[in-house]
Amino acid sequence: MAVQALDAARLPVDWAKLVQKLALATALFVVAYGVVPAYASGYLVEAILLPFLALSLAAVGLNLLTGYCGQLSLGSSAFMAVGAFGAYNFNLRVEGLPLAVTMILAGISAAGFGVVFGLPSLRLRGFYLAVSTLAAQFFVQWALTKFGWFSNDNPSGVISAPHLAVAGLSLDSATGRYLLSVTTVMVLTALVWRLVNSATGRNFIAVRDNETAARVIGVPVLRTKLLAFAISSFIIGIAGVLWAFTYLRTVEPAGFNLDRSFQILFIIIIGGLASIRGAFWVRRSSLSSRSFCPGSAHSCSAACSIRAFST
């Protein structure tokens, strides 16, 4: 960290840039909390903004793992499912648990799960690891369908999301759900942004760029990888809660299939690995393209991904 301190001491503070950043942040806040809730139509919020926010958050989480730490994962939607079902069960089984606590607990269960399925990363590299994350994908979907306990023995396996409220204020309306989503996404994205610029974030990048070299210069590779899996799964888990509670309003295993994992992967690929902003831009554009060619969202994003590579 001495190096960082030196850098900071040498570089003069760029005031113009700082002001620009502050202005941008203010504008973002005004749009997110003022303009959108006041003017956006129900359709815009329900069909575009809510899935956009949830999937972008998932993409931010996956990007931390794949883009920054270099561990390819094909099981993102399994972690989303763990988060969503975790939140549902915490809410159901613990009386009067505040929403924020429920979400954090759901995130923690997804993180624990992520660490377990991240363990193979200590031995495996590249594709071998990617394929082993598919184990998580199939196992979670199987377990959630097979054991009725997770869905509270609901015969159809599809359960409706609980009533959402913070400090007695109901958030069940479209605007309320939007505010919940946007706040969660902003807080977590800010945390991730801080994280990737911290010592831990640098360790992630070191492990990604050259694991052996990272080990040689003293980066705790094993801990770093597991930490990346834990934090990334935490975020993806909370994204799963948003996806199920605010967008779909139901919790069902089939909603978290392999295609969803690929979709999140496409988002980070097109938006750029190791780019937080990319996660948001792409999610937006792929949603707008979907409204023009329904059903072909995958082919579109696939085409985009190939094009993005060729250029």
């Binding site: 071998y128 394929v131 184990a135 199987w142 690929f262 696939a302 085409a303």
Partner: protein, 298 residues
């Protein structure tokens, strides 16, 4: 364990081994491309689907069996060649992850194209092989599976002969061994990659016909890629022998697990058991059973 129980175990085992051969068929297509170009071709599954769908649609339009086979083969060759030209050649020297993503995207495009060209209905595919089980020492064996295994064996033998006794096969092996060295002695990499994609197209055709005859030609056919992946990691991405042995191990243990382990956890474990098994093997041997050990340098 009584005699009949024992027979039952053997029967499950044989059935499992034979279905394992079917997994190997798909896995070999992956290995061919991975070995020579380092690309994990996720689109192999949709190539299988595309081949089967093209063939069955041609047959249904009244074109004779042999001619349809020939046309489909030509189409697959063209497809393999086009993929190499338009998708992979511009991406030469990118990271393996990038190439994988490109083929992942490609698989959706091929699936979409197949849907556009041939429609979405399910077709039955009759290869003229009858599937009456016959009995060997009290064990029932499916004759179709046995024939499929024979075809797979013939294909592997053919591919091996090709690799060992032809000039281009020798070039393949040189490229698989060391791309830079192969380039340095004057081998034309693009041409070799083109050929290997052609070979993968051929393997996809064979796999497509057999799988299509087994399950019917439908869009879920491209999902067999998910059956081939654990086979690949178990046996190693870069070994044809690994793909075969891996397929046999996965096929047999999957069936045995479904019969003997399934009832305790509520069944339906076929979806993930292969992955769990592959994972356990990988923890002991991180680059698969037959993989080359990688040496790491800074």
């Amino acid at each position: 364990m009584s005699y009949y129980d024992f027979l039952f175990v053997i029967e499950v085992l044989v059935g499992g081994l034979l279905s394992g051969v079917m997994y190997s068929l798909v896995a070999i297509g992956f290995v061919l491309i991975y070995k020579t170009s380092g690309v994990l071709n996720f689109a192999q599954g949709s190539m299988v689907l595309f081949a089967a769908l093209t063939f069955v649609s041609l047959v249904e339009r009244g074109i004779p069996f042999a001619l349809s086979l020939l046309i489909t083969f030509a189409v697959m060759v063209a497809l393999g060649f086009t993929i190499e030209r338009t998708v992979l050649r511009p991406l030469v020297n990118r990271s393996p992850m990038t190439l994988f993503m490109a083929t992942l995207g490609l698989s959706y495009i091929i699936e979409g194209a197949a849907q556009l060209i041939w429609g979405t209905q399910v077709h039955g595919l009759d290869l003229g092989i009858d599937d009456t089980p016959f009995e060997v020492g009290g064990i029932l064996i499916s004759s179709f599976d046995l024939l499929a295994a024979a075809i797979a064996a013939a294909m592997v033998a053919g591919l091996s002969a090709f690799f060992y006794w032809t000039r281009i096969g020798l070039a393949f092996r040189a490229v698989a061994d060391d791309q830079f060295a192969a380039l340095a002695v004057g081998l034309r990499l693009p041409r070799i990659w083109g050929t290997v994609w052609t070979a993968a197209g051929f393997v996809a055709l064979v796999a497509g016909l057999l799988w299509g005859a087994r399950l019917g030609v439908r869009f879920s056919l491209s999902l067999i890629v998910l059956k081939a992946l654990p086979v690949l990691v178990l046996g190693a991405f870069d070994s044809i022998l690994g793909a075969i042995v891996g397929g046999l191990i996965i096929g047999a243990s999957e069936k045995l697990a479904e019969v003997y382990l399934g009832p305790f956890v509520g069944g339906g474990i076929e979806g993930w058991f292969a992955y769990a098994l592959a994972l356990v093997v990988l923890l002991v041997r991180p680059s698969g059973l037959f993989g080359q050990k990688t040496v790491e340098r800074v």
